[in-house]
Point group: C2
Chain length 197, copies 2
Amino acid sequence: MSHVGYSCLMAVDREHVLRSAAALLTRKSTATMDEVAKAAGISRATLHRQFAGRDALVRALESLGIAECEAALDAARLDEGAASDAVRRLVREVEPAAGLLAFLYTENQLFEGEEQHAGWERLDARISALFRRGQENGEFRIDLTPAWLTEALYGLIASGAWVVLTGKVARKDFPRMITELLLGGALRRDEPRREES
Amino acid sequence: MSHVGYSCLMAVDREHVLRSAAALLTRKSTATMDEVAKAAGISRATLHRQFAGRDALVRALESLGIAECEAALDAARLDEGAASDAVRRLVREVEPAAGLLAFLYTENQLFEGEEQHAGWERLDARISALFRRGQENGEFRIDLTPAWLTEALYGLIASGAWVVLTGKVARKDFPRMITELLLGGALRRDEPRREES
DNA sequence: TTCGAATGAGACATTCATGTCTCATGTGGG
DNA sequence: CCCACATGAGACATGAATGTCTCATTCGAA
């Protein structure tokens, strides 16, 4: 029995397959299992051995996306310092997962009645809490609900990922253009905004 | 030969079918031709007689969405008055088409290499021009490109339509929450913002 | 009333993605 | 060296959506 070889090889490949699938489905959300397999450099049979089906693959990608998102939330230390700075850190940390997030964001809208991954609610709760903290802080305006701000953040991340993918803007501008729009809006400010880090 | 009856009945039904399809696909973007037909109260055969196939239906919806969007742009009088007020008018006018727009927005990302409807470029150009005018005006900040502001507006409209559809926020708040976020951002302003109409 | 056109219902073939299976190959560990 | 196991290749069946067809019915206009 090859415990070592088994768990090692499987784990590595699974991770690699997942990454490839994420990269591909980010660009073409309707990609075939065949295309996914080819993109990962494996055969369709092997792909099916690792993920029972397309559903299982998407679920695994969902878990991956949620995990990366939660890791980003952790790294952003949402409850430290100014709420606006926390938002900046959050967007910066979540940027690598933006493409995957955009894919899952639109994919989730197809799930209709089916129960969705509980992880999303946790993420919603944490991000909403950040916006609420900023409101109680006096930093954020109170006439926009935390729920809307959270959803808008998702939408902007998806739009940002899409616009970077199509080459309309440079990847390096991703965090700035999202945070600046979300926090400051399009209107020009007379007072200079302060910066962090 | 019943010229009158023909053109009249066909036109009316086509419009009605298009509306029903838009309403359905807004909620369930993967709906079957069967479901579309049922939602319109006609048979699948008749649906196929009016639209050669699913492709043709989506193309027709695309044209409808673009037409409604351009009508909204016209009604908003983008080049009159303050640019920020024009944005407010635009969002208010485009609100009825938001669901359809959201559907088309995600649908367009699947078109990969295929050439897309030229109408989108026209819309992009007109909206970009509005933001550019606001920048040259001194109203809008210049460190966010018109292209990004345009794309962000699309994203926020889609997010807004989605969040209204799921009941997280009231439909009546749709225009305000989008314009306020897009223009003013989440940060609280010391100076009171002025209002229009 | 009668004729013609549009419709609805449904059968049918086709295409495509998916899921399952078998078998040959190759590789790594014992 | 040998064996177990993962893999790749491909055949095969399945299901779903689509597109096309026919035929009976209904509705409107002459």
